[in-house]
Symmetry: C2
Subunit: 628 residues, 2 copies
């Protein structure tokens, strides 16, 4: 088969592909992370590239405009090479690493682990054994086990058979003062090595496997210090934005699942390798990993087909996966390291939510807490020390830009703040990095919706009103639209617009979140006002303006001081569970206690959802602070 | 290096060895099992061979007579090849397989397992799961675990991560009627496979790893039927007869331990392969093994140096070894099969005794039982449901022929019954297989001692009396000796004799056993008469005449109806533990309950031993039924 060279700009990376392979494959080979919201079906238009030299053959152009096509834009997933080519990849087609929040590694003083006796999943225990005598000639193994029981209080201690051949020599050479390396498994603890007393550091990973982003904390287990944090986009993104498209790709032929498994593993391995290189640590010094992800991410990470998650009755293969050896999974740390995943409770409430709920401490408090993690999905937990209810709704994608033509993540050039003058004539925007606007991110979408409503451009149902007398409201290709930024003020050569269908998408998304909250409350017979604390988690939550989110009816109308932001509670919870035995017990207890509310069953949710398809809501008494 | 061919007769096997290698090495290569009581030091004289053609250079001739040397006899361990040679291996130098008791596999109806709910260590459980619904959308893994708990009552069930990828498909393809394969580990049970309901048989091994012999039972786990039994000599025999010489060889350079480990493994693998071939079963169908051996054998089997067992304070590395995967050990069954060893309690009371005590049921009965296993060592357990005391004495080797020039095992030509006329003039012997006598085995030695005493040939201290007026009593190379069989009546061309030093050896051996029994009784303050049941175990026990054993003071003078013989209780106990969960619990409990009595500590044993160095005893009141 003939081969062609592809040179990517501005990266200036050249790779060779076989004739018939797509530009998307070439980008994967060139290690250029590309968005593929639709999973390579040519419908989302996210993987747009511009061919500067050479020729490609495109099977389709999806949502690209005639203008874009004339300029040489193609969809990478739909285009195969006919010659060598020079291609430019615009910023909005990229998954860029730099925006992924990396500052979560700072350990607050309130970290529960600071106050507990912390016992990491893998740890060194220094022991002094009494030497055998004729009156006490117990075998070396029993002597070791007894010493460990006395030092740790652990009853369920096993010995790895591998340690036995060297055991008698080490005990006697070290004059009965030794260190035992303990590995906690599913429910039992295993002695995996016995050495002289030593100070070599031991490391562990806490990993948040998000649908969109992956964050790795590298932790020194002896001192329990986070020595480094890295995050980037999940390499699976090329196969689709949300869990549903990933699940569909997993079921697509024999390669789907292995591709997804190896791409997320590559993401974690790359992040880990960077951290280790930076600190001069070898992979074999990393002895354990604790991962938190939603149920689909956990399945894919473990190489398990998540197919049944999207088929009624929405059944995962496993909610509480047993730990697996890193070597089996392909995780590039010590091959015998145990890799744990936090237990989830249902197909759409996974280990990341268990981690988050654990981290907030809500299961140990009297106050009624609502925990909301809006990422690619919207997951919520309501409750206190007596009970917990959890549910999930498909809310996030719209706020992350899915189904919104100019939607994008919070990268340079993303509009994050929007103000609109009465009547809609003037618009002011602020962008991430103060760069010329190329699209609009989640917080910008919330602001925009609120601003358009207040400006009278749209009505409470999201329809354009007759009122505005401004060229910004016009008929576009997909119906009535509002021009947010004129072409000459953008960084992309087209007007940035929002149309009625997109506004309806956003309203459905915010309505789903609010309806889910109300359904949980009605299940336990409590009003919105009963909530004493609302904790927002997830990268999206960091940037939103809570006031505006209340204004559009996304979040309950409660005093702002009841709100707090917890950041990436998934990785923080994973870190806690990695380090504290008490936290591990609590995590199991919490996962066992949480009641899952399946919103597709029964009509409560549907009624609530329909009522919430207004700005802010059909029932204005629920939003007393919002002026009509 | 020049090479030489060695042809062995009557086997007619030819092998090639490098110059400088010994005839013993050649025999190992030719797969001819040779006795090596002294571990190849040239002192025991067991490895005698006759060179028919060619030339060897011998470093020494040990106990060979001038006559034997003249006939071309050499010690294989001391002789290196100078040319190609033709060598004859006499029967008494061989470890022959055919005598190892093979009939122990017959399962008596009283087998406790017949009456319990038997749950083998590896088993198939048929399950019907309720399919998931919207009201019950639990994950497949929880559904499986719940079904297993309901079916088995097991609480501690883990899932092997390997089963998860296929789990959802199997459950649905089989319409929720499946079979789970359960593997019991140290304390928890693991689901290692999930399949459609099936009838493919599963197999397990019960193995007795004796110092002298190894016995393997192949058991179909579903029906709990023993489908075949094989036994042979432990391939380690070439490195020494008793545990002490094995321990010394294990510490001899880098190769000692691996040689011992691989030779016992080869023995078990050979036996297993024969059984599997015979029944047309593939090794991977064997899913589990349960082994019972003394502490040294267990250490060597697991590749652990038993060195500290023979050094004060006699400390084993491990009494309760964790199970190990067959692949790690080199046991040629399914590589993932778990290999368990029964727990022992001390350096000289191992898992074989736990197995035996378990099998007798003595730990669950009110009657005071004495369990005596005379093999290469003599181990004893005394007790009932309230308490158990165990001890060990080095008794066996003499009765197995060690330190007795014409001693041999119960093979064809071994004298097993002896009658001597008053004054010693006439001797009648019976041999195994009614073949011409070549030596004398354990039961023959007991008979002989008793007969010589009754005939007045020896006195109560074992010395020849002045009385006998017969050419049978004469001065030999090693002092006074008694001719048991004249040369022309033997199958070996020399007179078969016993000398005074050998008789003293036998008296010390029987004295040690009886002194051990008395020491245990005195520890608990009970007289000999308190014993309600005496159970004799071990291959040696099968052939001895209890009456004669009492006459020489080896066993207590109690009515013969209190005695019973249990055969190879080590393998029988291992089989029980392989098949019955209750037996596994009892074995652990029993090992925990047994008090070990170290006879080398304190003077009770030494006093008892000195008193027992008479026939039958210094204190004749202990043996009222024995006529002086």
């Amino acid at each position: 088969m003939p081969e062609h060279a592809v040179r990517f700009l501005p990266d200036d990376v050249t790779v060779t592909v076989t004739e018939g392979e797509s530009l998307l494959v070439a980008a994967v080979k060139a290690d250029i992370p590309i968005r593929g919201s639709c999973g390579g079906k040519g419908t989302c238009g996210r993987c747009r590239m511009t061919v500067r030299e050479g020729r490609v053959r495109s099977a389709g152009y999806g949502k690209l405009t005639a203008e874009e096509i004339a300029e040489g834009s193609v969809l990478a997933c739909q285009s195969v090479l006919e010659t060598d080519v020079l291609v430019e990849v615009p910023p909005e087609s990229r998954l860029a690493a730099h925006q992924v929040e990396q500052a979560e590694g700072v350990i607050e003083d309130s970290d529960p682990c600071r106050h507990d006796t912390c016992e990491p999943l893998y740890r060194r225990v220094e022991l002094i054994l009494s030497p055998p005598t004729l009156d006490d000639p117990r075998d070396d193994a029993s002597r070791l086990k007894t010493a460990i029981r006395q030092a740790t209080g652990l009853e369920a201690v096993d010995l790895d058979p591998e340690i036995l051949p060297a055991l008698p020599r080490v005990l006697r050479e070290q004059n009965w003062r030794i260190a035992a390396l303990l590995e906690e498994g599913d429910r039992r603890t295993r002695v995996v090595a016995v050495t002289g007393p030593g100070e070599e550091p031991l490391y562990g990973l806490a990993v948040d496997i998000g649908t969109t982003t992956v964050v790795v904390h590298l932790i020194e287990l002896g001192t329990m210090t986070t020595v480094g944090v890295r995050g980037t986009y999940n390499g699976q993104a090329v196969y689709g934005d949300d869990v549903i498209s990933r699940i569909m790709h997993a079921g697509d032929g024999e390669n789907g699942l292995p591709q997804l498994q190896s791409s997320v593993m590559a993401t974690i391995n790359d992040l880990t390798a960077e951290l280790l290189r930076e600190k001069g640590i070898t992979p074999s010094d990393v002895k354990v990993a604790m991962c938190a992800g939603n149920t689909t991410m956990t399945h894919l990470f473990l190489g398990i087909d998540p197919g049944y998650i999207r088929l009624e009755p929405y059944t995962p293969t496993v909610n509480e996966p047993p730990p697996v050896r890193a070597g089996r999974l392909g995780l590039a740390i010590h091959p015998r390291a145990l890799v744990h995943c936090l237990p989830g409770i249902a197909s759409y409430v996974g280990g990341d939510i268990t981690a988050g709920a654990l981290y907030t401490g809500m299961a140990r408090e009297e106050a009624l807490t609502l925990f909301v993690d809006i990422g690619t999905n919207g997951e919520m937990v309501l409750g206190h020390q007596e009970w917990l209810v959890a549910c999930s709704c498909s809310a996030g994608p719209a706020f992350e830009g899915s189904g919104i033509k100019f939607g994008m993540r919070a990268m340079d050039g993303a509009i994050e703040r929007v103000a609109v003058s009465k009547g809609g004539g003037r618009v002011e925007v602020a962008t991430v990095g103060s760069m010329p606007p190329v699209g609009i991110c989640g917080s910008g979408l919330i602001d925009m919706l609120s601003a358009l409503r207040r400006a009278g451009v749209i009505d409470r149902s999201g329809q354009f009103t007759a009122e505005p007398d401004t060229p910004r409201v016009r008929d576009g290709e997909d119906g009535r639209e509002f021009v947010l930024v004129w072409r000459d003020r953008t960084g992309r050569g087209t007007d940035i617009t929002i149309n009625e269908a997109e506004i309806k998408n956003l309203i459905r998304a915010k309505g789903a979140v609010f309806a889910a909250i109300r359904t949980m409350l009605s299940m336990v017979g409590l009003p919105v006002e009963a909530i004493e604390r609302i904790i927002i988690a997830g990268g999206f939550g960091r940037y939103i303006n809570i006031r505006e989110a209340i204004n559009i009816g996304l979040l309950p109308d409660l005093p702002l001081e009841k709100y707090s932001y917890v950041g990436n509670s998934s990785v923080k919870g994973a870190r806690l569970v990695l380090l504290s035995r008490k936290a591990r017990e609590q995590a199991r207890e919490l996962a066992g206690k949480m009641t899952y509310l399946e919103l597709s069953v029964g009509n409560d949710f549907f009624d609530e959802f329909v009522s919430a398809l207004f700005l802010p809501h059909t029932d204005m008494t629920l939003f007393p602070s919002v002026q009509d």
